[in-house]
C-alpha cells in the first residue's frame, strides 16, 4: 500500500516519467520516509512502555552478586530493556560496584545497552528487513556477553578509579511505581521527544540515500566496500567510532551504500561501532575507569566488532 502511495505521488502528482532517475530517487524517498517513521513511532512507544518496568535500580538488584556467565547473559538482556542515559554511566557504574555486581557483568550491561538501541534496530528493520535486525540484536547480545566475560576473566578491578569504592550511597531513594495509564502517557511523551530529536537527521539521510539510489551506479562501491576488500571492515569500524549521536542519520545513507555494493557484514560492524563505541561515552567512563581499563575495553570491543564484520561477510 505504501509502495503504491509513493508511486502515485511520484508519477501522478509530480508527473515524473517512469524509469527516470529523479523519479526513482523521489519514489525511494517518499516510501522510506513514511515507512521508517511509522516503524519508529510504534516501536519506540512499545519499547518505552516495556522499559518503564525495568528501572536501573531493579536491574542492579537482579545482577547483584550474580555468577559470571549467567550474570553476563542476564546483564546483556537487561541492557536492552533498562532505560539509561549515557550521562548516568558514572553513577550507575558506582551503584553497580557498590551493590556487588561483578565488573565483567557490569560491562556486559554497559555494552549491550547502547548497542541494542531502539532507533538503530528500527532503522535496520525498516531498511534491511527484520532478519538483519534480528541478526544485529543477536550478535549485539553475543558481543556484550563475550566482551564482558573476557573483561571479567582478566580481573581488572585494580584499574577502577579508587574513589569508586569509597562512595557509599546506601542505595538512595526510589520513586513510586507508576500506574499503567501513566506508563502509556510517559511512553507517548518519550516517543514524541525522540522523534523530535531524530526526524531531521533521518529525512536528510534518506534524501541523500535517495540521491545515491538514483544517481550513483549500481556497483560503485563493490570494489571499495565489497566482500573482496579485506580493509573494508576495519575501515568502517574506524569511521563508526567517532560517529555517535548521528546514528539515526548515518544508517539511511549506509542503506543506499549497501545497494551500491557495500557488504552486510561491513554494515553490521559499522553499526556496532557507531552505537557501542563513542568518544563522549569514553570520556564519561574515564571518570570511573583508569586509562588502562578503558584501553582494554576499547581494544576488546574493536577486535570483536571487526571479527563479527568478517564473519558476516563470510556467511551472509
Amino acid at each position: 500500500m505504501l509502495k503504491a502511495f509513493s508511486a502515485y505521488i511520484t508519477y501522478n502528482l509530480f508527473g515524473l516519467a517512469e524509469g527516470s532517475r529523479i523519479a526513482g530517487a523521489l519514489d525511494f524517498f517518499i516510501y522510506d520516509t513514511i515507512k521508517i517513521f511509522l516503524l519508529l513511532s510504534s516501536i519506540i512507544f512499545v519499547i518505552s512502555v516495556i522499559r518503564s518496568y525495568f528501572p536501573p535500580e531493579k536491574t542492579k538488584r537482579i545482577l547483584s552478586h550474580k555468577k559470571i556467565f549467567i550474570g553476563n547473559i542476564l546483564a546483556a538482556l537487561l541492557g536492552v530493556v533498562t532505560p539509561f542515559c549515557s550521562c548516568s554511566a558514572v553513577p550507575l557504574f558506582i551503584g553497580f560496584v557498590e551493590a556487588g555486581v561483578p565488573l565483567g557483568v557490569t560491562f556486559s550491561f554497559l555494552i549491550s545497552s547502547p548497542m541494542v538501541n531502539e532507533v538503530a534496530v528500527v532503522l535496520l528493520w525498516g531498511l534491511f528487513g527484520w532478519k538483519i535486525a534480528a541478526v544485529y540484536i543477536g550478535t549485539g547480545l553475543l558481543v556484550a556477553i563475550f566482551a564482558g566475560l573476557v573483561i571479567g576473566k582478566l580481573k581488572l578491578e585494580k584499574w577502577i578509579e579508587d574513589y569508586v569504592f569509597k562512595i557509599h550511597s546506601g542505595g538512595g531513594q526510589e520513586t513510586a511505581a507508576p500506574a499503567f495509564r501513566e506508563r502509556l502517557e510517559a511512553a507517548r511523551w518519550n516517543t514524541v521527544d525522540i522523534l523530535k530529536k531524530v526526524w531531521l537527521f533521518i529525512i536528510i539521510a534518506i534524501a541523500i540515500g535517495g540521491f545515491i539510489h538514483g544517481y550513483v551506479p549500481e556497483d560503485f562501491l563493490v570494489h571499495y566496500a565489497g566482500k573482496e576488500n579485506p580493509f573494508a571492515v576495519p575501515l568502517a569500524v574506524a569511521i563508526g567510532v567517532p560517529l555517535y549521536s548521528n546514528a539515526a542519520g548515518v544508517i539511511p545513507i549506509v542503506y543506499a551504500l549497501v545497494e551500491k555494493g557495500m557488504s552486510m557484514g561491513t554494515v553490521l560492524a559499522f553499526m556496532m561501532a557507531v552505537t557501542a563505541l563513542s568518544l563522549p561515552e569514553m570520556i564519561i567512563l574515564r571518570k570511573v575507569l583508569k586509562v588502562e581499563l578503558l584501553a582494554v575495553f576499547v581494544g576488546i570491543m574493536t577486535v570483536t566488532i571487526i571479527a563479527v564484520g568478517y564473519l558476516f561477510n563470510a556467511i551472509l
Binding site: C85, S88, V90, D193, I284
Partner: protein, 80 residues
C-alpha cells in the same frame, strides 16, 4: 519555600530537566529554589539514574525518559 534539586553531571537531558523544573515553578507561581547538583557523591545519595528531580529531599523522578512538562508540574505540586 520549596527546595528543588536537579541531579545530573551535565548532559543534554540534565539541562532539559533543569529547564523543565524552572518552567514548572514559574507556571505554578510558587516560591522555590532550584539547585543544580553535579557532584557524584551528592547525586548518589538520591539515585544512580540521572537526570533526577528532588523536591524537599524527596526523589520525585529519576532516569530516562524525561517526564513531560505536565508531569513535572504535578510532581512539584505534590510537595508544595
Amino acid at each position: 519555600m520549596l527546595e528543588i534539586k536537579v541531579l545530573g553531571p551535565g548532559c543534554m537531558n540534565c539541562h532539559k530537566m533543569e529547564e523543565l523544573a524552572k518552567a514548572a515553578v514559574k507556571e505554578l507561581g510558587i516560591d522555590a529554589r532550584i539547585e543544580k547538583i553535579s557532584e557524584i557523591q551528592e547525586i548518589m545519595k538520591y539515585t544512580m539514574s540521572t537526570p533526577g528531580l528532588v523536591v524537599n529531599n524527596k526523589l520525585k523522578h529519576s532516569g530516562k525518559p524525561l517526564p513531560s512538562p505536565e508531569k513535572v508540574k504535578a510532581l512539584i505540586k505534590e510537595e508544595a
